[in-house]
């Protein structure tokens, strides 16, 4: 009986996802990514290397193994964000109310959702697996296809790991606090930790990497066991060695399959944390018709009930009571279509979404930037931290109408594409400049005009990116994920091309960077304006 329930929960959720056009786009993008996972020798980059510059010959084992590891890493981040919305959808569509009124158990519900997540990720993995076969034949280094060495890493490494990602997505939807941007940030931090702490890096994928390093060490005396996954450009010409794949013993297979039990354990933990679809939970989602805070106190409920019982004011008005307002006698107002009041309103709306605690921390960070030497602020990561702190404020730009179903208000207002979108953008830039004011003043005090210019241009670039992401995708998640990656690689890890704060050693010329960022901002804004008209077309 419960199997039947879980099956139908998973099936309905799966159909809802894969019948969307966006899923086809996701598959298309995945195929593109898979293409880049198997670069030709002359491409100058590798996606998996042993030592400094060795990669395997493109036989079935290496192509299967390397692509499986790459897609595992890729989907561990993007796959999570892709599937982490199935319980949220039930909240938003109010299907949750129907579920809450049935006898379905939380474990069965969450298990169904986790299975649906897993199948979505498995379909993507399946597409990549086929692409791996095509890429082996396309590259043609070894044309003989050996099916088991090619597919076994996907089946025994990637899929078990995807079950964990699927379960984690459910876990991160089990608590209201984790459903939104905060959960996205926390998961990103966890992902970074798993990819930077050596003992955690190869968890789940060690069975393949250890076999590769073992094989390579037989060829290279003194090999220290180092390897790398990702898009890497070795400083010396790439050399090749032959790897025949993992010898899958019964013990190894069982060990890999046991990862599914870990996923099941995570679902059980999620069940313990999940509070179902009670109204008080719904309210903290800040959804249509729901409170932004957890529950209402009894006084508020009483007040609601009193006011619902009738429009006392209207009753009086309809009887012509002189003390009450009449609809026909309301104060007249003038329409001036001014821009600044709308900027003020958008800024207010943006700022309203943050708590007092948020402002307190932003203020402290900004103050520290003002009183400390600029170099020290950068070294102690205060300055970079100030550039991730407004993440959830920026990420609301351009998609608020979609999230709160308020597009009617925007679309029926005069010159909404240019006027309203520009107001949101200006508000975003002003907010960023206010938050960064401490550091901007510091730069002026220190006479560091190069960094001052970069900071001001970044205050234009990042809201532009947020606006374009929000308008294009109608969700805050795109910007959150994209910006977290940029921020992690750029301001935090000083990757020159992404470090928009200009802190990287040997970074690019400030003039060139400024020009690139200004042009990028302009391009993003044009994109946002162009796509904004979809609000009308989709009505």
């Amino acid at each position: 009986m419960w199997v039947h329930t879980v099956y139908h929960i998973a099936r309905a959720d799966l159909y809802e996802r894969i019948r969307r056009f966006s899923f086809l786009i996701t598959l298309g993008l995945t195929m593109l990514v898979a293409y880049f996972f198997v670069p030709p020798l002359e491409a100058g980059y590798v996606t998996l290397h042993m030592g400094d510059h060795y990669r395997g010959i493109y036989n079935s084992a290496w192509v299967g193994g390397s692509v499986a590891l790459s897609i595992t890493m890729f989907l561990s981040l993007f796959g999570f964000y892709l599937v982490k919305n199935s319980i949220l959808r039930d909240h938003q569509t109010r299907v949750g109310y129907i579920i809450a009124s049935t006898t379905v158990k939380k474990l069965h519900y969450l298990l169904g959702k986790a299975i649906s997540n897993f199948i979505v990720l498995s379909i993507i993995v399946g597409v990549v697996m086929i692409m791996a076969l095509i890429m082996q034949l396309t590259r043609g280094e070894v044309v003989a296809v050996e099916l088991w060495p090619l597919v076994s890493p996907f089946l025994l490494v990637t899929l078990p790991m995807m079950s964990v990602i699927a379960a984690l997505a459910v876990l991160f939807e089990s608590r209201m606090a984790l459903i939104g941007g905060l959960g996205n940030v926390i998961y990103f931090i966890i992902f970074i930790l798993f990819n930077t702490i050596p003992s955690l890096t190869s968890l789940g994928t060690a069975v393949v990497t250890s076999d590769m390093t073992e094989e390579f060490s037989k060829l290279q005396q003194g090999f220290n066991g180092s390897y790398g996954i990702g898009f890497l450009v070795p400083e010396v010409p790439i050399e090749r060695f032959e790897w025949q794949g993992v010898n899958w013993t019964g013990e190894l297979v069982l060990r890999q399959l046991s990862i599914f039990l870990v996923a099941l354990g995570i679902v059980v933990v999620a069940t313990l944390l999940f509070r179902g679809f009670q109204e008080s939970n719904e309210k903290s989602l800040g959804m249509k018709g729901k409170s932004s805070k957890d529950g209402m106190d009894s006084v508020e409920k009483k007040s609601n009930a009193e006011m619902e019982s009738g429009w006392d004011g209207l009753s009086g008005f309809s009887q012509g009571s002189p003390s009450l307002v009449r609809a026909s006698e309301l104060t007249k107002v003038k329409i001036r279509i001014q821009f600044l009041p709308l900027v003020r309103a958008e800024l207010g709306l943006m700022m309203k979404s943050a708590s007092l605690g948020w402002y307190a921390i932003a203020g402290i960070l900004s103050l520290l930037c003002l009183v400390m030497p600029a170099k020290l602020s950068s070294q102690w990561l205060i300055w970079p931290l100030l550039w991730i702190w407004p993440l959830l404020l920026w990420s609301g730009m351009g998609n608020r109408e979609a999230r709160y179903q308020s597009k009617y208000l925007v679309v029926s207002s005069p010159r909404y594409v240019i006027r309203q979108l520009s107001a949101v953008w200006v508000a975003g830039v002003i907010l960023t400049l206010i938050i960064d004011l401490g550091m901007l003043i510091r730069f002026v005090i220190e006479g560091d005009y190069q960094h001052l210019i970069l900071a001001i241009i970044s205050a234009i670039l990042i809201p532009s990116l947020a606006l374009a992401s929000g308008v294009l995708t109608g969700t805050s998640r795109t910007f959150e994920v994209l910006y977290m990656i940029i921020w992690y690689l750029g301001p935090l890890n000083k990757t020159a091309v992404l470090d928009f704060l200009g802190g990287a050693d040997g970074g690019l010329n400030v003039g060139i960077m400024s020009l690139v960022y200004v042009l990028a901002s302009l391009g993003l804004l044009i994109l946002a304006y162009a796509f904004r008209s979809r609000l009308l077309l989709h009505s």
Binding site: G289, L314, A345
Partner: protein, 290 residues
Amino acid sequence: MLEINHVSKQYSTGLWALRDIHLQLKPGIIGLLGPNGAGKSTIMRIIATISQPTEGTVTWKGIDIRKHPDELRRVLGYLPQDFGVYPQLNPIEFLEYAAALKGLSGRNVKTRILELLELLNLHEARKRPIGGFSGGMRQRIGIAQALLNDPELLIIDEPTVGLDPEERMRFRSLLTDLSGKRVIIFSTHIVSDIEATADQIAILSQGHLLMKSDPSLILRNVQGKVWSVVIPDDELQEARTRWTISSTVRREDGLQLRIVSDRPPLPQASELSPNLEDAYLYARTIQEGA
């Protein structure tokens, strides 16, 4: 004032939501009546400049609103059927935001907002986040935002959904008070809402305009075509297949049916005074039979 000239709307799926709608509206209240899926919301979205017709034009004071939508948007108040609000804002903040979007400014804006909150009995709740409001209270916020710019054209889609009977009654009074020099279009599938307020009634069904007239003329159409008969309980199923039944009332001696028919359904049938519900059913029956 507002002219809807042979408007049709086809969705990308190929489905025609509207076919050749032609209406001329003058100041007053026009009620759009029709079953779910009749095209009421579609025509309202087109008039509100949110959607565009596949064929035909809509003009406001002679200006094509497709070419110059802002000419209408300046004087438009629109309340859609499904609308959202920002839950963290209180009513004043939300209405101030809506006012800024509509291009309203000046000292009078705040005064008007407070008056609207008073009018809609939301004054007491003016400083509480909208997120905690009930459905009826949110509906009133929606009405308030539609009235912010003192609209010359007020479009309200299913405004009484979510309102209790008393609230509905008060809403009707509000509409009557608002009418005058403005055009008010409101849609509903609750005939009594329209009966109580509308100067003109347009009946839509399956994307077609069945008729547009004032209530008295519509009632005249069905004069002498409404009957009352009493049948045994177990004959109801068969009666449904034979006649258009407007309502049923259970009595001691069986079921009293209110039937809309050109001829007396049974020899013992007695004639009744028609109401709008009967007229609406009659119009639909004719269309289905055509």
